[in-house]
């Protein structure tokens, strides 16, 4: 069964089309990621799916409920973590969770047990009485993630869950997210513009300018780039180029003192190549293409071009957090 079904979804703000004709399905239990630069339309799609915005065209359903006509059913069945902090920082962690439990009508006997279980899961049980304004960025994030789980949602939306956190904290958050998926058996839908994070997903959709340009597992997306990248250095590069063209019919590119080419399976290619190569090899380097290569190939530009936006966004989140 599909947890999320999106059919030709479009969203306009005035004259700008933020989301254009987007369709995809997310099967139950999957970690599904939206990868794309800031402003690509990721948050808009999340907002439509969690009923905060209505679509301009097309339709979408979450857990089988229509996001326009069955808003309350959708809301009850999803958990949400927004890009910016949405905690009440003048309340304690416990009070924030209680508020959430009341708002979602979680029964009394479930409420307390669930709170304890979840706070323990993210190692915040001992700090539950502390006001959340005294929490670090990573602690707030963890708290927000489990807050979204109190009412036993079947889909968890995470909008840039690690934005503005340091690399170590980001890794921890991922460990927690994976634990949660295992324990709760839920579907996770997340957006990110960090390439390395997209690797954690079962499937990703690469989104650019409001359109999905590719959708597949990270592995297969990388295969589509054209396999592994091999760089060799030999005592005579000119001959090497010739030999590669003649005996292996490979197209090569010479960059500095390296001869670079790509083969479908680098790991299988290398042993044979080393055995049969007539020249003298000085070094060999094989690397899998990264999602960065994927994004570059699909959109013709580097996702890093957009990083300036991230600084602006960070500044904004600072404004939110320091009052």
């Amino acid at each position: 069964m599909n947890s999320i079904q999106v059919n030709r979804l479009g969203k306009k703000f005035g004259d700008t089309e933020a989301v254009k004709d987007v369709s995809f399905n997310v099967p139950e239990g999957e970690i599904f990621g939206f990868l794309g630069p800031n402003g690509a339309g990721k948050t808009t799609i999340i907002n439509v799916l969690c009923t905060l915005m209505s679509p301009s065209s097309g339709s979408a359903s979450v857990n089988g409920y229509d996001v326009v006509n069955q808003r309350n059913e959708v809301r009850r069945s999803v958990g949400l973590v927004f890009q910016e902090s949405t905690l009440d920082e003048y309340l304690s962690a416990e009070q924030n969770l209680l508020f959430h439990a009341y708002a979602y009508g979680v029964p009394r006997d479930v409420r307390l047990q669930r709170m304890k279980e979840l706070l323990n899961l993210v190692d915040l049980w001992d700090r539950r009485k502390g006001k959340t304004r005294t929490y670090s960025g990573g602690m707030k994030r963890r708290l927000e993630i489990v807050r979204g789980l109190i009412h036993h949602p079947r889909v968890l939306f995470l909008d840039e869950p690690t934005l503005g956190l340091d690399p170590q904290t980001r890794r921890y958050i991922w460990d927690y997210v994976k634990d949660i998926r295992k324990n709760e058996n839920l579907t996770i839908f997340l957006t990110t513009h960090y390439m390395d994070e997209a690797e954690h997903c079962d499937r990703i959709a690469v989104i650019d300018n409001g359109r999905i340009v590719a959708i597949d597992t990270p592995e297969r997306l990388k295969d589509d780039v054209g396999g592994d990248l091999v760089a060799i250095k030999s005592s005579d590069n000119e001959n090497a180029v010739k030999e590669l063209a003649e005996s292996w019919s490979l197209e090569t590119k010479v960059q500095d003192d390296l001869v670079i080419f790509s083969v479908p399976r680098g790991d299988e290619f290398l042993p044979e190549f080393v055995r049969k190569f007539k020249g003298q090899l000085l070094s060999i380097n094989v690397r899998r293409p990264t999602l960065e290569d994927v994004f570059l190939k699909l959109t013709g530009r580097d996702i890093r071009d957009e990083e300036v936006d991230e600084v602006t966004q960070l500044k904004q989140s600072f404004k939110y957090r320091h009052r």
Binding site: S85, L87, L91, H100, Y102, A103, G105
Partner: protein, 261 residues
């Protein structure tokens, strides 16, 4: 229907929690009215005193100050919507399975209960001003204060749905609050001033709220009961006016909030 009730209760619960946790708000709720009583009481006694025959001017002003405190507190309660929007928490409320009208009514209820609590705290001043409280007075007072603050929090919430920043909200509220309060008979008996001022004061709905609360504490003629077209308003009539005002303000707030967010 469930989405409305749960919304009202959970939103109001948080407002109260925040109020109880912020001790400074309880202290200021005491300090401000005392300041007014002392400064204005001393300053205006000579001028306004003669208009309030039979009652000490401080005693005349005290119920007015009570209503002023309650009115200000409830009107500013809308601030928490602007605050929540600015700091993100409003999103957490908006995606919960509770209705928009529940959120608005919950904010209004939370705001008016905190205003009522402030009003009740201020009752402790009564003995020092020579006003003897009875249980009936307190019950009537609490009822009127809740009605008044529920109505006026509607005004605060309506403004809040239109404002994106706290500064903006504060500016607009000050612009509204001061004329409303100064022209409401807090500081003078409405029937005994010049006709143009009477006219403005009698168009101001707050006048009737102040008058109702004053009638709870004071008896006798001393500037009590506003005369409208020859008819002397009693507590019930005053309360009706405030109730109608509240119903319309709250409906407008619900409409505006549902449309905007």
């Amino acid at each position: 229907m469930n989405e409305i009730y749960r919304g009202i209760w959970v939103v109001a619960y948080r407002e109260l929690l925040r109020f109880v946790q912020e001790r400074s708000r309880m202290v200021t709720s005491f300090a401000f009215p005392i300041m007014f009583l002392v400064v204005f009481g001393a300053g205006f006694n000579r001028i306004v005193g003669p208009m309030t025959e039979g009652v000490d001017f401080i005693q005349f002003m005290y119920p007015g100050i009570l209503s002023m405190t309650v009115v200000m507190s409830s009107m500013f309660s809308g601030m928490s919507i602007v605050w929540d929007r600015e700091f993100g928490f409003l999103k957490e409320i908006l995606v919960a399975p509770i209705s928009r009208s529940g959120i608005v009514l919950g904010k209004a209820l939370g705001g008016s209960v905190t205003a009522m609590l402030q009003g009740v705290i201020l009752l402790t001043l009564a003995p020092f001003l020579g006003i003897h409280l009875t249980a009936l007075m307190v019950v009537k007072y609490i009822f009127l204060v809740l009605l008044l603050s529920l109505s006026l929090s509607g005004m605060g919430i309506f403004v809040a749905t239109r404002m994106r920043s706290q500064q903006g909200f504060q500016m607009v509220m000050n612009l509204l609050i001061f004329p409303l309060i100064f022209l409401s008979g807090v500081f003078f008996p409405v029937d005994n001033v010049s006709p143009w001022l009477q006219m403005i004061a009698k168009l101001n709905p707050l006048t009737y709220g102040v008058d109702a609360i004053r009638q709870v504490f004071l008896s006798g003629d001393a500037g009590l009961g506003v005369t409208v077209m020859g008819y002397k308003m009693g507590i019930i009539e005053d309360a009706l006016i405030i109730g109608v005002l509240g119903l319309s303000l709250l409906s407008v707030s619900v409409w505006s909030f549902s449309r905007q967010e």
